[in-house]
């Protein structure tokens, strides 16, 4: 795909059903042009991970995903030796009366490639998209390691040598800000904060993603969610919840928001009991009335 301007990219993203602001489109465009990692921050469910998936589809290339967690180490992020095969090989050689050579045992045949290694290995025709998801869940040790990998896209395996990416992957890093990620890592990247969308944008997203939803329902759902985001909740719903809820209401054959069905399906959009309690009953009716007047 030929993406020669920000306008092109924005249009292409829309074709892939991803509605991006000008700012996000600019950041993605520059990430592709300057070969810099893209660091996306924002609340849960605003479409950070989706960006990486859409870029991969646009570039028609593979998406390699590394889900972060505390204690994520080299064995799970970069490479590991296939011990069972190594042991088997030793036994087979033994049965033949030979001795397994160490260089062979620790060679490419016995290497298990984990996401980071896959991303920089030059086995593909096109550079892949590397998604490092929820980096805030990992710890400082992994962050430091990631910083190293992202700075020159090379990995050293003591037994094999240094592997350097000829075509560096398009790296997308996401964070939910459950802790502050170190500035050193963010400094290397293009940074973009994805905010909750406004009414128009969210309505557009709902229409694009759940086309079978009636326009009236989609409008009311969007209005309702926008109201909830202004309410005093511990965890307000993200766009992901909006889409889930729309799909749920479509599955229940709803044409418009009714108090009863909204109350029964609140669990799709609110994930804390305190919040559900707050939105129930009288408050729910009040919000619904407001929504029906405005949209």
């Amino acid at each position: 795909m030929n993406l020669t301007s920000i306008d092109d990219l924005q249009a292409a993203l829309r074709e892939q059903l991803y509605i991006a602001d000008r700012g996000l489109a600019t950041a993605i465009y520059l990430a592709l042009r300057l070969h810099r990692p893209l660091f996306l921050e924002g609340e849960a469910g605003v479409g950070k991970t989706e960006v990486a998936k859409v870029i991969a589809r646009l570039l028609d290339t593979d998406l390699i995903r590394l889900q972060c967690y505390e204690g994520l180490d080299v064995h799970h992020a970069v490479y590991e030796w296939n011990y069972t095969r190594q042991m088997m090989h030793i036994r087979v050689m033994e049965a033949r009366g030979e001795r397994a050579a160490e260089a062979e045992l620790f060679g490419p045949d016995f290497l298990l490639r984990r996401p980071l290694l896959q991303a920089i290995e030059n086995s593909r025709e096109k550079a892949p998209v590397l998604l490092v998801d929820e980096v805030d869940r990992s710890d400082e040790e992994f962050e430091a390691f990631l910083l190293e990998v992202l700075s020159d896209f090379q990995i050293t395996i003591p037994e094999i040598g240094t592997i350097k990416a000829e075509r560096p992957p398009v790296a997308v890093i996401t964070s939910n800000r459950t802790r502050e990620v170190h500035d050193a890592l963010k400094r290397r990247c293009l940074y973009y904060w994805i905010d909750y969308p406004g009414f128009d944008k969210e309505f557009e997203i709902v229409r694009a993603k759940v086309p079978q939803a009636p326009a009236q329902l989609a409008r009311q759902i969007t209005g309702f969610i926008q109201e909830l985001r202004r309410a005093d909740l511990y965890k307000v719903p993200g766009v992901a919840e909006t889409l889930d809820w729309t799909a749920a209401l479509v599955a229940l054959d709803q044409q418009a928001l009714e108090p009863g069905i909204v109350e029964e399906t609140l669990g799709v959009i609110l994930k804390y009991q305190d919040d559900v309690e707050k939105v129930r009953g009288e408050n729910l009716r009040a919000i619904l009335d407001r929504v029906k007047v405005t949209v």
């Binding site: 000008r22 505390e70 064995h75 042991m87 030793i90 045992l105 459950t178 293009l190 973009y192 305190d274």
Partner: protein, 413 residues
């Protein structure tokens, strides 16, 4: 690119750095490259390109926007001038300057009084060396009853306290004697014996100090302790290896972590003084806790954090809210320690409504009124272990409360 634009870009970068943004020279160079890829005539594109490259903290974005607006105005709108007078300070400092309360009410006299000179002008009355018996007296004297010199001495002694926080088991493993097998090393070792596994290499969990979060009450009723407690928070921040997050509140919550970080004590406290706008105001513990839980809890309470909550429990806000938010806070941290300066007095009983509401959700309720209590706290923090048996007691209290409530509601019927 014209030399003029490049020149302006460099000036702009310098301006941002002057405003306290962390601008990386590498990203400045990237921005110059980026200009080749975008339509430079379209101001929004230039703006988004510059913002995504030069800013990497969400909280810095408004400041960047302001600087961008001022710097890249068209000549007709005022031109690119470097009269950034209004911008040279971070916006939050533009509030009227309110400083922390003086040490004691008697010190509040204006300097014209002659006696009440600022501490900097006064000759050091007390030398660093405090004799043993003096120190013993000092250790047990209430902070609120101390003279200026005694407080100075205490502050010095406070810096000498050794802080260490209990550790938590992380999910990261390292070679050691644990239960987990280390297959990589096992296979390596076995090669020496022709692939025969003679010994199993193992891994064990790595331990790290727990993160510490301090939330301190600086309302009017705490005034006598505020100065010293800030010193205490500073010495904790400086004395611990792990990150310490610090917040203060009276009517609203202010994060002071960045102000305390990497500065000398006096400079740090001055910064804190400027950042906080509600010194010695009223107390609304519930609201402050809620602000903390909603805006910061998820970001700073991860990884088994220990929370030090410093307040006398005099609350003028909504007690139900306080109870609810205390419960939430306790659920989200590893250990909730409430430090109350009044607890040092033998007659004190936690009878205020606020304290009563909070008490069931506190893991440790400790005094913080003299040096000895701080030493005791230091010892306790060091001994914090993985377990915390105390919460069991809370359920007992809750159960009793519930039966009481049930009994009350049952009676009228």
């Amino acid at each position: 690119m014209t030399g003029h634009l490049l020149h302006n870009l460099i000036l702009f970068g310098r301006l941002l750095r002057g405003l306290g943004l962390d601008v990386n020279p590498g990203r400045m160079i990237d921005l110059v490259h980026a200009l080749g890829h975008i339509e430079i005539g379209r101001k929004p594109d230039f703006y988004h390109a510059a913002r995504s490259l030069l800013v990497h903290r969400h909280e810095d974005e408004p400041l960047f926007d302001q600087a961008f607006e001022m710097f890249w105005r068209k000549p007709s709108e005022g031109g690119v001038t470097l009269e950034m007078g209004g911008l040279q300070v971070r916006p939050r400092f533009r509030r009227p300057l309110v400083t922390p309360p003086p040490l004691r009410p008697s010190d509040a006299k204006p300097p014209e009084d002659g006696e009440g000179q600022s501490p900097a002008d006064q000759p050091p009355i007390l030398q660093v060396t405090v004799t043993y018996s003096d120190r013993e007296v000092l250790r047990h004297k209430d902070f609120a009853e101390m003279s200026g010199e005694e407080l100075d001495a205490v502050r010095r002694l406070m810096t000498a306290l050794v802080w260490q926080l209990g550790e938590r088991r992380t999910r990261r493993r390292k070679p050691g004697k644990g239960r987990l097998l280390d297959l990589r090393r096992t296979v390596r070792k076995s090669l020496r014996y022709g692939g025969e596994v003679l010994e199993w290499a193992r891994r064990e969990p790595k331990y790290k100090p727990r993160p510490l979060v301090i939330v301190a009450d600086i309302s009017g009723s705490m005034e006598r302790y505020t100065r010293l407690l800030l010193h205490f928070i500073y010495s904790l921040t400086a004395g611990l290896d792990q990150p310490v997050e610090a917040f203060v509140f009276s009517t609203r919550l202010t994060r002071i972590t960045r102000q305390l970080h990497g500065r000398e004590v006096e400079a740090a406290l001055r910064e804190v003084g400027q950042a906080v706008s509600d010194w010695s105001g009223g107390t609304r513990i519930g609201e402050a806790l809620k602000a903390f839980n909603f805006d910061w809890g998820r970001r700073v309470l991860g990884h088994g954090a220990v929370v030090l909550f410093i307040s006398d429990g005099w609350d003028r806000g909504d007690v139900d809210l306080l109870r609810r938010e205390m419960a939430r806070l306790q659920r989200t941290c590893h250990r909730l320690i409430w430090l109350n300066p009044l607890l040092g007095s033998p007659e004190y009983e936690p009878l205020t409504r606020g304290m009563q509401a909070a008490l069931p959700y506190i893991d440790d309720f400790l005094p913080v009124h003299n040096l000895a209590s701080l030493e005791d706290l230091a010892r306790r923090l060091t001994d914090l272990d993985e377990r915390r048996g105390i919460r069991a007691r809370r359920t007992a209290i809750e159960r009793r409360e519930r039966t009481l409530i049930n009994a009350e509601t049952a009676e009228p019927r």
